[in-house]
Symmetry: C2
Subunit: 323 residues, 2 copies
């Protein structure tokens, strides 16, 4: 009888499950878009449903053949117990996600922070193959970070280490969504970039963006920014390069502290404009990272896209089953 595991990505805008062999060959997938203003119980119900759909598509017997589930979830959460401590987006507070799924499916479940898990996916299967000390930076609405030190996800005392986007770029800078002043995220998060792009569009300096998307920050996503830059909106390119440079200063800080061998840059914005980001980040590293530490570190663009979290989560549960 065959054995299968599930890797699950509980994202802000979608949830996705992949049913895999213990050798990480994907046999079936299932995904759903997130709904706004859903109750925590409804979200949990859809997680169960999404896993059942993947299981059904693969035509396996979940009671006998599903041996483990790995989940990447927003946090903060306790990776030891798989309890989500507090997540406004999911309407969960002290929600024992791992325990509930274990009861539901009768198999072991691990839950870890989505950015950690995505970084771990890149570490094992993507841009970080062969690394030992890897730092992942994933700019999006927030700027997420994942740390794999000595080959293992590093959690720290709270379980929630790696809040790299909330390091301070300028103590006198604008307030961040977290309430603190001057975080990197308050300068280089995607909504901030989109807002700056909308502003230059409104003052007539981004005709391509204005024609395609107007000035509604909500609609200016990674693809729109990419097309604007490609279409010759120099003022938007300046906005994006400035943010990319700030991401590079963040990377330099992390090199100076952690001396990783690999710095992986991922997320929709960077994957849309990999060359621009690589160029600006490297320029910032040259100025702000200690040369002796920098020369040990390779900068890479994430390779797995949306699959990073699925794959990392599957790897985590596979390791737990082997232990």
């Amino acid at each position: 009888m065959a054995k299968y595991i599930v890797g699950f990505d509980l994202g802000g805008t979608k949830m996705a499950a992949a049913l895999m062999t213990p050798k990480f060959e994907v046999k079936a997938r299932s995904r759903q878009r997130s709904k706004a203003h859903e109750s925590g119980d409804d979200i949990y119900g859809r997680i169960v449903n999404t896993i059942h759909n993947a299981v059904a598509e693969a035509k396996i017997d979940p009671k006998k053949e599903l041996v483990g589930i790995g989940v990447g979830s927003p946090g903060p959460l306790d990776p030891e117990t798989g309890t989500i401590i507090d997540c406004a987006n999911l309407n969960w507070s002290n929600f024992p996600l791992a325990k509930k799924l274990e009861k539901e499916f009768g198999c072991p479940v691990v839950v870890d922070n989505d950015v950690n898990v995505g970084t771990y996916g890149e570490f094992h299967f993507g841009a970080g193959r062969g690394a030992k000390h890897l730092v992942g930076i994933f700019p999006g609405t927030g700027i997420g970070g994942g740390l794999v030190l000595d080959g293992r996800i590093y959690h720290g005392a709270s379980g929630s280490a790696g809040e790299v986007g909330h390091m301070t770029l300028d103590p006198h800078g604008p307030n961040c969504g977290c309430g603190k002043p001057g975080c990197f995220e308050a300068f280089a998060g995607r909504n901030v970039i989109a807002a700056a792009a909308a502003a230059v569009a409104l003052r007539g300096q981004a005709p391509t963006l204005l024609k395609n998307k107007g000035s509604d920050v909500r609609t200016i996503r990674s693809g729109a920014l990419k097309r604007s830059v490609a279409g010759g909106d120099e003022a938007v390119e300046h906005v994006v390069r400035r943010a990319a440079h700030q991401i590079g200063i963040l990377g330099a800080n992390l090199i100076n502290v952690l001396s990783p061998d690999t710095l992986v840059l991922g997320g929709g914005l960077i994957e849309a404009m990999p060359d621009l980001f690589r160029e600006e980040v490297k320029r910032a590293l040259k100025t702000h990272a200690m040369p002796f530490l920098r020369k040990f570190c390779t900068v890479k663009i994430a390779e797995l896209g949306d699959d990073a979290t699925l794959m990392g989560a599957a790897k985590l549960i596979a390791e737990k089953l082997e232990a």
Copy 2:
């Protein structure tokens, strides 16, 4: 026959050896002040001499009773091999310190970065007893950092992780001694503080400092700053508090990334004015550290002073001998 180990602190202004039992009871000490413009070989000769002096004072037979030596040294260095890669102060380049001492004394030798080793000393014997994830910040001429993660010194890919003072506080800030712009060290290193204090003394706002020390930055050390603040030089107090606040922002960055359970602040400046520094650092943490991570972290002032490196080095060699 008894067995003894040596903990050695190779500092910028002095070198010191302590001969200890395997239970870290100090039996003899020896120390020498550093001499300026000495050759690398002369410095090495004085290291050997200092260890011999401690051995002689304890009246033991080094050939039979000295079983290991641990050294904390400036770097960068390779902690695997104990080779000092490059140290301008010591006139060493690719200097195989561990190998030479092993040959000289016929026993195993470990060499690690002095700030790492001092942090490890505080972790085992000082302010960090009972910690699991500890970050040490030691402002002096430079701002050194040591990381003990999961109970072990963290070295990263280069062997030289923990360059916390070279994170960027302001990309447009003054140049640091390392050549990069805007490092924390360029704002809150002791010489920078001393220079700012000298400037306010010259403009007549620090009568106590001016009377005691004049305006020569070289003479304005931690004790002089302490007496100036205690003597009512409010402008100097402002200078020191500003730097202490910046050290606090640095601590917040490290909490956000590493989520330690313990943040140890040490070095002459902080040990001279512990209350002032604790107050400003805590204030900065409240503004700049993520609340969820901050509540897992206790701020402590180093307890071992100059002995931290000796003790940490002794612990490192003791562990190597047990392994």
